[in-house]
């Protein structure tokens, strides 16, 4: 014990003004200092590697390998900049339209995508404002986006309001010449509130609305014709409860999503974050999603009496189905600011797993798995 080493009454004083520097870490003791509390004090650099593959019975479909770099750097007490860079390689065919055409798809090519984003956040006394930009480029697709988000903190910092607005411009030039110089413009708005309920519980609810117009069809899918406008409403609520007795945290979330294509989905997820000895954390998770089909999704066979140009898709992502995704994440604190994690998720989709109604009958079960490994250093 340090105090035992000190002779009675003697004072071991360290650097000049040491207590003042320490006191400035107390919340709200001086005007404008709270921002130092909200702004990140340390930088982070992280390298992640994602390996995704999906398959349907008897057939390997698509594989994605994506290394990504993320950097967060505080520029001052009140300004932080963060950015990420990802490089994807996608090989194989995208999922089959439906059982009966299983032989018609799968041309086995490899596509590359490069994407990056950057965001600067300035922390004020009771608010933070972030301005960001993002771009993504591949052979047949170019996307540029900008965003502005504002967070306002309550006096006691237990409540945060979030407001965000973003815009995105995409250009599509498919290699098969079906879509040339096609464009898509999207505007997003987000409203959210985060409330600390107690030292152990926090709840967040976000409402996001996006409106877009332009080219939504898939140029690589036969006769695929979708509306040129899309409105999406998503409502996400998350609740985290810490269980001090066993030092675990339970995270539950629910997302409702409805879009003007006519599809509605419900997604529920539960994750259990359990620290275990030696600096490890184990997080098993389970996600369930159910969705209804888009209005213009047609189950096979191809609809009789189809008028060329009428709305039509056979994209199974717009079909009705249910999906279950169990996952397991292992994270390790390696000391010295280093940490590492590895995460495995297995996705299984069946039309019969849909809730509330029947799934689309013609789609083959789809399976996928994600492996993500990462290493991060706080500096």
């Amino acid at each position: 014990m340090a105090a035992d080493r000190a002779p009675d009454g003697a004072v071991l004083s360290a650097t000049s003004g040491a207590l003042l520097a320490a006191a400035l870490a107390l919340p709200g003791v001086a005007p404008g200092l709270a921002m130092a509390q909200a702004a990140p004090e340390q930088g982070v650099i992280a390298l992640k590697y994602l390996d995704y593959r999906d398959w349907q019975p008897g057939e390997a479909r698509m594989r994605v390998r994506a290394p990504a770099l993320y950097v967060l750097k505080p520029l001052s007490d009140s300004v932080a900049v963060e950015g990420s860079l990802v490089y994807d390689s996608v090989s194989g065919a995208s999922p089959l339209y439906f059982n009966t055409l299983s032989g018609a798809s799968g041309i086995g090519i490899t596509e590359y995508r490069t994407a990056g984003d950057i965001k600067v956040t300035k922390y004020f006394n009771r608010m933070a404002i972030g301005v960001g930009g993002a771009a993504s480029s591949e052979r047949d697709y170019l996307s540029r986006a900008a965003s502005l988000d504002v967070r306002v903190f309550s006096d006691d910092r237990n409540r945060t309001y979030a407001f965000g607005i973003g815009g995105e411009n995409d250009r599509i030039d498919s290699v098969n010449g079906i879509a040339v110089g096609q464009r898509r413009h999207t505007v997003d708005v987000l409203l959210g509130v985060t409330q600390v309920l107690s030292a152990q519980a926090i709840i967040q609810s976000n409402l996001a609305y996006s409106a877009g117009h332009g080219y939504y069809s898939d140029p690589y899918k036969l006769l695929d014709t979708r509306p040129d406008r899309r409105r999406t409403l998503a409502w996400l609520t998350r609740y985290h409860q810490h269980l001090p007795g066993i030092d675990a945290t339970v995270k539950v979330s629910y997302r409702y999503l409805h879009d003007s294509f006519g599809s509605t989905s419900h997604t529920a997820e539960i994750a259990w974050v359990q620290p275990v000895p030696r600096g490890f954390t184990v997080t098993p998770s389970l996600r369930y999603a159910t969705q209804s089909a888009a209005d213009f999704y047609f189950d096979p066979p191809f609809p009789a009496g189809h008028v060329p140009g009428a709305l039509y898709t056979a994209d199974t992502r717009l079909a009705a189905f249910g999906a279950i995704t169990p996952g397991l994440k292992l994270a390790a604190d390696l000391g010295g600011g280093w940490s590492a994690d590895v995460k495995l998720e297995v996705y299984r989709q069946r039309s019969s797993w849909r809730l509330f109604s029947d799934g689309s009958p013609g789609i083959a079960p789809l399976s996928a798995r994600w492996i993500q490994a990462g290493i991060a250093k706080v500096f």
């Binding site: 105090a3 000190a6 009675d8 003697a10 650097t15 003042l20 007795g245």
Partner: protein
């Protein structure tokens, strides 16, 4: 501009806000926020309230960790820094020594060595297990309290609260711990009196403050005398002896929480007090056991 005064009771003290402002409603609203925050801190950290965070932590001594919020963790972090820079003199676990030093007992008596020896194992900040999410007092019977920090922290928060609502000229005084936000309109300083340690209603000195805080720790707050020797409430955490080198220590610092903790540490630091205060780059006025004054803040003639 008009000077508005608000007097209120909290933390077992008489308190006041003096706020210069143009619009009475604005000033009143700022004062209400500030006073509400003082009461919030009192309710949260008072050891006299069974539902306080302090009581919850103390009730769980020897048992399971108690979850804490960021504010409590920040206060524990500051207490830890005070402990470190004072070589253990500032120890928020030392309150258990009050079980032996009873200032209400009649007739008063000095606790025996064996009474104190029974309690000293419970005084050990370094044994407290804590992080940003939870705190655990490892031995049954251990206690913490935020005396010497809590009220001063409330002073700083109240001042910030008013300043952030646009009041550039004001003063917060919680039971003699003072913080000013800027000078008075026109640039004149606030004149803050320092109480005479041996005369209840007399000022020993006055200090001019343009910005910053003044806090005083003295042997006159709670004490008893036996054979003309005074035993005060400031107890050395290791020996269990009452501080007797200084009658009072007043400190000016940019923040009240710094002024208050420096004053408390100086009272306990005996002859090292001046070296310590100089190291913290604060100004001070100390009154020694004979009533002589020392320090850069000299009494006004």
């Amino acid at each position: 501009m008009v000077l508005y005064r608000f007097e209120f009771a909290a933390m077992a003290c008489a308190n006041e806000l003096q706020l210069w402002g143009e619009d009475e409603a604005d000033v009143r609203r700022a004062a209400e926020f500030a006073i509400a925050d003082v009461r919030r801190i009192e309710a949260k950290y008072s050891r006299y309230r069974a539902d306080s965070v302090t009581s919850a932590i103390n009730a769980a001594a020897g048992g399971a960790p108690v979850p804490i919020d960021a504010e409590t963790a920040a206060l524990l972090g500051y207490a830890e820094r005070c402990h470190r820079v004072s070589g253990g003199l500032f120890d928020i676990t030392s309150g258990v020594l009050r079980r032996a030093w009873n200032f209400r007992r009649q007739p008063p008596r000095v606790p025996s060595d064996s009474e104190l020896a029974a309690l000293t194992p419970l005084v050990d900040w370094t044994a407290v297990e804590w992080n940003e999410r939870a705190v655990r007092l490892p031995r049954a019977g251990m206690e913490i309290d935020f005396g010497g920090i809590g009220k001063e922290y409330a002073v700083d928060r109240a001042a910030t609260c008013c300043a952030e609502r646009g009041l550039a000229h004001g003063l917060v005084n919680l039971g003699g711990d003072v913080r000013v936000m800027g000078p008075q309109p026109g640039g004149a300083p606030w004149r803050v009196g320092i109480r005479h340690p041996r005369r209840d209603d007399a000022a020993l000195a006055s200090v001019e403050l343009f910005e910053g805080a003044l806090a005083t720790s003295g042997d006159y707050e709670r004490f008893f005398e036996i054979d003309r020797k005074r035993y005060c409430h400031l107890i050395h955490p290791r020996t269990g002896a009452a501080a007797s080198t200084w009658q009072s220590v007043s400190v000016t610092a940019p923040l009240c929480v710094v002024a208050g903790s420096c004053a408390t540490i100086a009272m306990l630091a005996r002859e090292s007090a001046e070296v310590f205060l100089a190291s913290q780059a604060v100004d001070y006025l100390m009154v020694d056991a004979h009533g002589a004054c020392r320090g850069p803040l000299q009494p006004a003639s």
